[in-house]
Amino acid sequence: MRVNFTVNGRPQEADDVWEGESLLYVLRERLGLPGSKNACEQGECGSCTVRLDGVPVCACLVAAGQVEGREVVTVEGLADYAKQRAEHGGCASGACGTSVDEAQRWQARGQDSQTGEGTELSPIQQAFIDAGAVQCGFCTPGLLVAADEMLERNPNPSDADIREALSGNLCRCTGYEKIMDAVRLAAARQGEAV
């Protein structure tokens, strides 16, 4: 079957999709977006986390056919997504999420939102690097998407809020402390910027 949906603000078409296929498979194998990782294929690890109509979900548990006509943001589009949000004043102005309107505006920009090339990093990505929160990096894309969404909803998270928001993302390397540092750092920088 064919699936039409929006990925990182651009309309995409995936062909020859098997009916039982996951969104994760479509992103990685059909659209060439390997940023979302495949570790468990059963919702346990969160490394495949993407936003579906703004909501963080495990791409491995969404059937490809269920995303027809809907909007997906992957880690490849995160920098652009965060930039749009910052420029439009964050949630207060209602600019959060991936409205069709916004998606159309993204199209007009001369950058490759599929690979992220030519785009600055999002604040959360920069914070992960600065705090040393990336080791092997396999868990990183899912954590970035989940952490970015939490900071959008909750600009001043407590440690408990961060742990809760990231409780669906497993990391086998860092022991999580540096990840906590990174999210705190991004929140603090976000606070300064306002």
Partner: protein
């Protein structure tokens, strides 16, 4: 495989009537795991994501009509007051990502003895609204679970909504697992005080082939509370009463040994959770009762 994508409830019912073997998929958090691991290869997948009605809820006088696909996240955010037990149970499900997709309709569809919604529904009192092209009916929650991962749905029926009694008193939910997130219950316990009818209801998860109520324990406690005038005098429940209630709850279990825990551990843990949830809810009831009297 065919992917059926009804745009409305009527279309969904028609599709299910035409293809009774079609597997409905809502949040997909159970169905997709089975497909990814090749445990299931259905002929038809029936996508319910486009049926908007299933994502709505209505707060009525006596009950909440909860659309089958309302995700746990929404229940936690919006129905904490009306459905405290279910909101607490929802919060223990998996992780934010899973709670954003999964809901009570899927939990009922799977009907796993470990499903977290079940003890909360049993304790609150609920009816499952199911429909087919033949018509609609409401199944009392006590009759819904028919066996291990089996429910009372006919092959052509879909779950439309769950009607859950609004809380008229404190409710609690307790679950044993190895960590706070991403845990399938070793066993779980839901308890609801119903001051309106002066009754207590329970729900036990993962300690029998289906989710169950501890009916003998409820009857014992209801009688003991009535006899001692507890609902009126708001006294602390006598330790011996709490103890016997806990023992009767343990006794209601018919658990198995498995990778998550042994049968005897489950029985023990259910007793502990029964006593604790009774204490928590009763303390909260006494607190409210005292405050109300103070005002009056």
């Amino acid at each position: 495989m065919d992917f059926l994508r009804p745009a409305s409830w009527e279309e969904a019912l028609a599709a299910k009537a035409e293809h009774p073997t079609a597997v409905p998929i809502a949040g997909g958090t159970d169905v997709m795991v089975e497909i990814n691991f090749d445990h299931r290869r259905p002929e038809y997948l029936l996508d319910l994501n486009r049926v908007g009605d299933l994502y709505e809820w209505e707060v009525g006088e006596e009950s909440v009509r909860l659309g089958a696909s309302v995700p746990y996240t929404q229940i936690m955010e919006h129905l904490r007051t009306e459905l405290p037990g279910l909101a607490l149970a929802s919060h223990t499900v998996a992780s934010p990502q899973i709670r954003n997709r999964g809901g009570v309709g899927g939990n009922l569809g799977t009907a796993s003895p470990a499903g977290d919604a079940h003890p909360a529904l049993l304790a609150a009192g609920a009816e499952v609204e199911v429909e087919s092209v033949r018509g609609s009916r409401r199944i009392p929650i006590d009759e819904f679970y028919t066996g291990v991962k089996r429910n009372a749905l006919a092959p052509d029926e879909l779950i439309r909504a769950v009607h859950i009694n609004k809380a008229d008193g404190p409710q609690q939910y307790s679950k044993v697992g190895t960590r706070n997130a991403m845990v399938i219950a070793v066993c779980a316990f839901g308890l609801a005080l119903h001051p309106g009818t002066r009754t207590v209801r329970t729900g036990i998860g993962s300690a029998a082939p289906t989710p169950i109520r501890a009916k003998a324990a409820e009857e014992f406690l209801n009688a003991a509370l009535e006899e001692g005038g507890f609902w009126d005098n708001g006294k602390i429940i006598t330790p011996s009463v709490a103890k016997q209630f806990a023992e009767l709850c343990s006794g209601a279990c018919n658990p198995i040994d498995d990778v998550r825990g042994t049968a005897s551990y489950r029985r023990h843990a259910v007793g502990v959770m029964a006593r604790r949830t009774l204490t928590w809810t009763w303390e909260s009831y006494r607190g409210t009762a005292a405050r109300t009297e103070g005002v009056a």
